[in-house]
């Protein structure tokens, strides 16, 4: 099947627009410095790892059940619930950060209670960075999990029930294995989103080196002081992201 010429031209322009910046970054990267730049940014790397892994764990623990509720639940207001859950995907990240501050900040309605009852203060802490990253990662996991669960024939669960399997065993033995590829993809996407989080993190958790300064924040501030280091670190993130994309694709396509 041949592609209409107009579509081909527009697609080429778009692809060039997507590829050129990445190529530009690779060209500007000074290969000799990459390793030492990573070493200098080791605390940001560590914060990024800790924050993103905890955030994606939270996202899986809550996003998968949310996906299940959205896929199988039969109740009024499911559409509204789905919109509410998916909102952070379309929300500007800085708005997510402002919203988190408004709710969980020291003067926020919920934050004041947390502080008073448990002496827990989230803003400008590593825990706050985790919250910010999880806030944007959960919807991705939930969205992909819902699609995965929808792909499992509900009738199979009925058959499993007639074979003596209760709800949890049906979920674990029938639904989960079949939805596994989708869930794996959701986890990878959620993790990628958590690793890349910038706006909500800087708004809610700030930019404290060693505590809340993740790789994207380090890159942004390095750009003024040592642009070459910013290129090195960006290059590393490109490689990591590409790896995750391939992993997600494999999980998706399996």
């Amino acid at each position: 099947m041949s592609i209409p010429r107009r579509l081909g031209i527009l697609a080429t322009v778009g692809i060039a627009g997507l590829v050129v910046p990445v190529v530009g970054l690779i060209v500007r990267t000074s290969w000799g410095r990459v390793l030492s730049d990573i070493g200098d940014a080791s605390s940001a790397v560590r914060v990024s790892l800790v924050v993103s892994v905890i955030a994606v764990t939270l996202a899986v623990l809550t996003g998968v059940p949310i996906g299940w509720v959205l896929a199988r639940g039969r109740f009024r207001g499911r559409t509204v619930l789905r919109a509410a859950v998916l909102l952070p995907i379309v929300l500007p990240p800085v708005v997510s950060g402002v919203a988190l501050l408004a709710a969980l900040g020291r003067n926020g309605s919920f934050g004041r209670w947390l502080d008073g009852a448990f002496s827990i203060g989230l803003p400008f802490t590593t825990a706050g960075a985790v919250v910010a990253a999880a806030f944007v990662a959960i919807p991705f996991v939930a969205l992909v999990a819902e699609a995965g669960f929808r792909g499992v024939d509900a009738e199979l669960e009925g058959v499993a029930a007639t074979l003596g399997a209760g709800p949890w065993r049906r979920f674990r033995r029938i639904v989960l294995p079949q939805a596994a590829p989708a869930l794996a993809a959701g986890i990878v996407l959620g993790w990628a989103r958590a690793v890349g989080e910038f706006g909500a993190t800087i708004t809610f958790a700030g930019n404290l080196p060693g505590r809340t300064q993740t790789l994207p924040l380090a890159i942004f501030f390095e750009l003024e002081q040592d642009p070459a280091a910013a290129f090195s670190l960006s290059f590393v993130l490109v490689v990591i992201s590409l790896g995750m994309l391939l992993a997600a694709r494999r999980a998706w396509m399996r």
């Binding site: 009925g158 058959v159 029930a161």
Partner: protein
């Protein structure tokens, strides 16, 4: 004894049925698509929480919504073979059978029993419709349930394997002491496999009885058509049945009062000119349809008393749709019984 007396309602469809199935009995549920057959199985299996009424297995109440009792499927001793098998696609045939067993290591024995031990390691996607059906049957039977439910057990089987798989399904159905219900749209299948037949139409029990009961005394046009019979309804007196529109049918014997009468299509003779001789029922009407099949030709005749005749292909040669023909039925071929 499995006693079912239930109603359920779902977006424009209402099911309302009451019947019983004995231990050791095979009940065949026949009806057109969309008549509520699958819904009925799902109610008995415990897959329809919205049902109302009672499902009792001997003294055990599986459901008694008046008393607030409804056991979910996993707490009923039931085996369910859904239409299209619905094997778990991520498990081998053996693991499918073992899924519900307390001793899954005995799953292979069930595959052996159905003659498909060689398929133990196969994934459902690699099985033919008939093979999948046998695995699904083994999976349902492996828990030795008190009630076995089968939805169109022979529908997904290719014709080449139909005979052998039908044999296996029949053998499996007829062995063991269980309450067995199977659903089919094919009356021949019901006649071949069932001890009793429940005819469903529009979510209701149209008629229930042995094949012989139904054949002798069909009580609706639908049942008569299922069994391939002409059914007439009228008022009988002294060997004459008055039908609608002033037409009459003469029978050798009739009850007095409202009556049904059946005539087998092969007992209906058609002629291009008025027949001479003894038939007591003779009338003239137009041919409305001619449907050839392998051995017999079905000819539908319209008029005030529509009737179906089955004739040999040779005998059908002189007739064309739209032509008037003479219909003749001997009085001895008209079987009348009270309505």
């Amino acid at each position: 004894m499995l006693a079912v007396d239930v109603t359920t309602r779902r977006s424009g469809f209402e099911l309302d049925m009451s019947f019983q199935v004995g231990e050791d009995e095979i009940l065949g549920v026949v009806g057109p698509n969309g008549s509520g057959k699958t819904s009925l199985l799902r109610i008995v299996a415990g897959l329809d929480p919205a049902m109302q009424g009672r499902v009792l297995l001997d003294e055990t109440r599986w459901a008694d919504t008046g008393a607030g009792i409804w056991l979910p499927a996993e707490r009923r001793s039931v085996g369910y073979v859904p239409q299209g098998s619905l094997l778990f696609p991520h498990m081998t045939a053996l693991d499918n059978v073992g899924f519900g067993m307390t001793e899954p290591e005995k799953a292979l024995a069930w595959l052996e029993r159905l003659g498909i031990a060689d398929l133990a390691g196969a994934r459902p996607a690699e099985l033919s419709g008939g093979q999948a059906q046998l695995v699904a049957l083994a999976r349902a039977q492996a828990r030795s349930p008190d009630v076995l439910l089968l939805d169109e057990p022979l529908a997904s089987i290719d014709i080449a394997n139909r005979a052998s798989i039908r044999r296996t399904v029949r053998r499996e159905l007829q062995s063991g002491r269980q309450h067995r219900i199977f659903v089919t749209h094919d009356p021949l299948e019901a006649v071949a496999l069932a001890d009793r037949i429940l005819v469903v139409a529009d979510g209701r029990v149209s008629q229930i009885g042995t094949v012989e009961d139904l054949r002798r005394h069909p009580r609706s046009r639908y049942v008569a058509e299922l069994l391939g019979l002409n059914l007439f309804a009228g008022t009988a007196r002294g060997g004459v049945i008055a039908l609608a529109d002033g037409a009459v049918l003469v029978a050798a014997e009739t009850p007095d009062g409202p009556a049904f009468a059946t005539v087998h299509p092969r007992a209906v003779s058609l002629y291009t000119s008025r027949p001479s001789g003894s038939p007591r029922n003779i009338w003239r009407a137009p041919v409305t349809a001619i449907e050839p099949s392998l051995e017999r030709v079905r000819i539908e005749v319209g008029g005030s008393v529509p009737v179906v005749a089955e004739v040999t292909p040779e005998g059908a040669r002189g007739f064309r749709e739209g032509d008037d023909v003479w219909v003749a039925i001997k009085a001895s071929e008209v079987q009348a019984y009270p309505r």
